[in-house]
């Protein structure tokens, strides 16, 4: 591909957004962006639209003055007000392009703030300028910053850290929690981060200012004492909370792909079985059986169907592998971030796929036209292409701005795979009947 100077219709978001999804997975934790007011507002809008939840993100609201003389006063004021208004149990401070470019040292400013205010509130700094990497990396960096700031070695424990290394849906996290509970070993795991309640909150009387749920702070602190870490997803990011815990505290890490589709879920479940020493609960074996049954039911519909997969790298990889299991063809696989390892992983399951790294939707569109695509599988950002080309789009991942239920969309595990097989098949059948009607 020739070097291009411009990006047309981005396939990724910026780093601070990723950090919010990590911070909101910690109990009582409020995110604050050190930068201009717009960043917080834009990302609140973007996330609120996706989750259909209020998403509060504070800002140090840097103005011209702060930009010229440094943003220390703004950041301290922001922290102070955030504490007054929300009484958070922790604050995640993510930088923006602006704060990074003017060279504010947020670690130092936070240190000063804590001394001046005599505050022991955990404040987690993370460097997330948009120009360095995408929201996927922002999420990974924030996760690493969370353990880096909070994890403390005390007594060696017997628990396992289960780190969700990529952005998944609240429903996905709930599924993992339920699985561990059904197994009877929920207390033996520290699930990090946990957005299952915080970004898909029930309607209650007098909702709290900060939505309840999230990984308890004590558990985050305790991750340093666990006997091992199992990380799912996040394999293409350069920061990793699991690696940090291994490096710093000697907690050995095993990294797995997101459990999307049959084989990757098998891998995950077998790993858990090995750790726990007790067989997977029958309920999940039955789900596995139903997934196989579903795939048998739909195999003729999906046979040879040419799919364009795009979105976050870990999800795109999982979807690609799953399509192969189902007999469909991942003809175009695209992600907004750039990782040669991603390319190799895709190539390993699909020799013919057109792989796009660092892609924008203009490139994805070109490839979709060339590759005779039957179905698109990815975020709602593909909607323009879908409409223009008359190709059905099954929405998976973030953002999903034009359909409801993103927070409740289950993608992982046997159940998620079966639901996805249904959704893909139904989209093709819908399209078929539309075409038949037109004739």
């Amino acid at each position: 591909m020739s070097e291009s100077y411009s990006t047309i219709n981005p396939c990724n978001m910026c780093m601070p957004m990723g950090s919010v999804l990590a911070f909101r997975g910690i109990e009582g934790c409020m995110p604050l962006f050190h930068g201009s007011q717009g960043c917080a507002t834009y990302m609140r809008l973007y996330l609120a639209h996706h989750f259909r939840e209020p998403v509060d993100i504070a800002s140090s609201a840097l103005s011209e003055k702060g930009t010229v003389y440094g943003g220390s006063a703004n950041l301290k004021m922001g922290l102070k007000n955030l504490i007054t208004g929300y009484s958070p149990r922790a604050i995640g401070v993510a930088t923006t392009c602006l704060a990074e470019t003017i060279g504010d040292d947020i670690v130092q400013i936070i240190k000063e703030f804590r001394a001046e205010e005599e505050s022991s509130l955990p404040i987690i700094p993370v460097s997330t300028p948009s120009y360095s990497a995408s929201h996927e990396e922002g999420y990974a960096r924030a996760l690493q910053a969370i353990v880096q700031t909070l994890a403390r070695r005390t007594e060696p424990g017997s628990r396992t850290n289960l780190i969700i290394g990529s952005v998944v849906s609240p429903a996905d996290v709930r599924y993992l929690k339920d699985m561990l509970t059904d197994w009877g070993f929920a207390n033996e795991f520290i699930l990090l981060p946990d957005i299952s309640e915080t970004l898909d909150a029930p309607r209650v009387e007098n909702p709290p200012r900060i939505t309840e749920g999230g990984t308890p702070l004590e558990d985050v602190v305790d991750t340093a004492n666990s006997c091992r870490t199992l990380t799912v997803g996040g394999q293409f990011q350069s920061n990793s909370a699991g690696e940090y815990l291994e490096r710093e505290f000697g907690v050995p890490q095993t990294a797995l792909p997101l459990p999307i589709g049959l084989k990757d879920t098998d891998l995950f479940v077998s790993m858990l079985e090995d750790l726990i020493g007790i067989a997977l609960p029958g309920k999940y074996e039955a789900q596995r059986g139903r997934l196989l049954d579903t795939l048998a039911d739909v195999h003729k519909y999906l046979a040879g169907v040419r799919v364009a997969v795009y979105g976050d790298s870990d999800i795109a990889l999982g979807l690609t592998r799953f399509l192969c299991e189902a007999g469909a063809i991942p003809a175009v696989v695209a992600t907004g971030s750039s990782s040669t390892r991603f390319e190799a992983e895709i190539r390993a399951v699909s020799e013919d796929a057109r792989i796009l790294l660092g892609a924008d939707f203009s490139q994805i569109h070109d490839q979709i036209r060339k590759a005779r695509i039957d179905l698109m599988l990815g975020t709602s950002n593909g909607r323009q292409i879908s409409r223009k080309e008359g190709i059905p789009l099954v929405r998976v991942g973030l953002p999903n701005h034009d359909r409801v239920g993103a927070a409740r969309q289950l993608l992982i595990g046997y159940e998620g795979a079966a639901m996805l097989a249904d959704a893909i098949t139904n989209a093709l059948l819908d399209e078929n009947s539309r075409r038949t009607d037109r004739q």
Partner: protein, 477 residues
């Protein structure tokens, strides 16, 4: 008197009307850090004003995020070109920050111009461009000379203020286009519509009414707009300004340079709509046109009135809260709610100025709370204290309202229903009715459990010796 208190330093921004004196409200200053303001940035202001120009190429010079979050988010419709539905970015990376992004920008302009052949290119600057000092002006003017088309820098570094500064930057950019093309209007009566963004096709309900009066709309700023229309907009005799927050600045500039007077109008609500039509007719001092305007007003009002009356009976007396970006829309909403028999109990804006709040303060009834640059915590408290039944605002506020069990109406630029003009008010009333009277708000938040001890059972337990557990759980007859 402070109605609620959450943040130190916000007291002056919240006030409750009492008596006839207009309230002096603190406004037009920087948002309080950490308070989760609903405001956006300069870039955002510039982008929302310019983006509805459908055939222009909108290029964001900055890191990817600024382009990601503004891709096709505005509900402005087009009757033709759709170039504006793309998000173009120079996607600045670390190296561009270190070595400067001018070369990349110049390359991007050339590349995109060659591929899309736009009639004009707007180049938006973002926060870091202002810091690293890329010379947007010289890159743009060089490109303009080479390409032979307007390449206009939009000075919209995010940190340089709030949305209002962005509106100004957009107006300055538009002003560069005006007067570039000669044009002979087909009617002696010509107007421009400023601050009309054709959200959900609003414009298409308005424009025909003016045309029926014999008026030619030369250009709309910027809903369903075309670059060429803007370029010849200096040939209009009158500017009608709707969203005054974003466009008064431009109207003044046009008055100064081209001698085009402007009038503030609104197309929302029956009264405001009628006033807008009359305003144009009066300006042209044409008896026939005035009569035509009255005819249209009478005809259209009669046409929609039965439906308005129907909805009014269903929503009358309900209490509304308004939180808008700009003050013009908020003011128009107050009148519309009056027409619909609803009471306004909270009114707030992100970017209103002293004059706006004085005007609002004179319009609303005693007891109404007026708030500047609110945040979720304040909105939440105010909605409760003021016992609001409904909130009119944008997406960020929607889910807050729902979580609190309060009806909601989206009146922001990403709404999908047209609210302007005669049918627009019917749509608006219908949406209020649908949300206010939805059965979902009446669903019990608590399920009554057979295991819970009810008051009735409590009474038995206290008085009766025969109150065994088993008998307590029996359903009372």
């Amino acid at each position: 008197m402070s109605v609620i208190k959450i943040f130190e330093g916000r007291e002056g921004h919240i006030s409750q009307k009492a008596g006839s004196d207009p309230l002096p409200l603190s406004c037009s200053n920087e948002s309080l850090a950490g308070a989760v303001s609903q405001r956006a940035c300069v870039y955002s202001g510039a982008r929302v004003v310019l983006n509805p120009l459908t055939d222009a190429l909108h290029l964001v010079h900055g890191p990817i995020g600024c382009a990601s979050y503004t891709w096709d988010i505005r509900g402005s419709s087009t009757s033709g070109p759709d170039l504006y539905k793309n998000s173009f970015s120079t996607d600045m990376t670390e190296l561009d920050i270190i070595f400067g992004g001018e070369k990349k920008l110049a390359g991007a302009i050339q590349e995109l111009a060659a591929r899309f052949h736009p009639p004009a290119i707007f180049v938006y600057s973002t926060c870091i461009v202002g810091i690293i000092g890329d010379d947007l002006k010289s890159v743009c003017s060089k490109a303009a000379a080479e390409l032979g088309l307007p390449v206009i820098p939009v000075c919209s570094e995010g940190f340089r203020g709030n949305k209002n500064e962005g509106y100004k930057a957009a107006c300055n950019a538009l002003f560069e286009l005006i007067g570039m093309e000669e044009y002979r209007p087909s009617s002696p009566y010509t107007i421009n519509l400023l601050g009309e963004y054709n959200v959900a096709g609003d414009l298409w309900a308005i424009k025909p009414l003016f045309e029926e009066m014999g008026i030619e709309v030369v250009a709309t700023f910027t809903g369903d707009g075309r670059v060429a229309e803007i370029q010849r907009s200096h040939t209009a005799r009158l500017n009608l300004v709707q969203c005054s927050g974003s466009m008064t600045y431009l109207a003044k500039k046009m008055e100064e340079r081209y001698g085009i007077p402007y009038q503030r109008i609104s197309f929302f609500g029956l009264g405001d709509m009628a006033a807008a039509l009359r305003c144009a007719a009066r300006f042209f001092q044409d008896e026939g046109m005035l009569a035509k305007a009255e005819e249209i007003i009478e005809r259209e009002t009669a046409r929609v009135m039965p439906e308005i009356v129907h909805y009014r009976t269903r929503i009358k007396g309900k209490r509304a809260a308004i939180y808008m970006g700009g003050a013009a829309k908020a003011v128009s909403l107050v009148r519309a709610f009056e027409e619909l028999g609803m009471e306004v109990v909270i009114i707030g804006t992100q970017t209103g100025d002293r004059d706006d709040y004085r005007k609002i303060s004179c319009m609303v009834r005693d007891g109404t709370v007026i708030v500047d640059d609110a945040n979720p915590l304040e909105l939440r408290e105010l909605l409760a204290v003021q016992k609001a039944d409904l909130l009119v605002a944008g997406v960020k506020e929607r889910f807050l309202a729902y979580k609190l069990g309060i009806a909601f109406c989206d009146f922001n630029h990403d709404r999908t229903t047209s609210f302007e003009g005669y049918d627009g008010l019917v749509n608006f009333a219908r949406e209020l009715d649908v949300s206010l009277n939805s059965p979902v708000w009446k669903l019990p938040l608590h399920r009554s459990s057979p295991l819970e001890i009810t008051e009735f059972e409590n009474a038995i337990q206290k008085t009766g010796e025969r109150g065994t557990g088993q008998c307590l759980r029996a359903i009372p007859q």
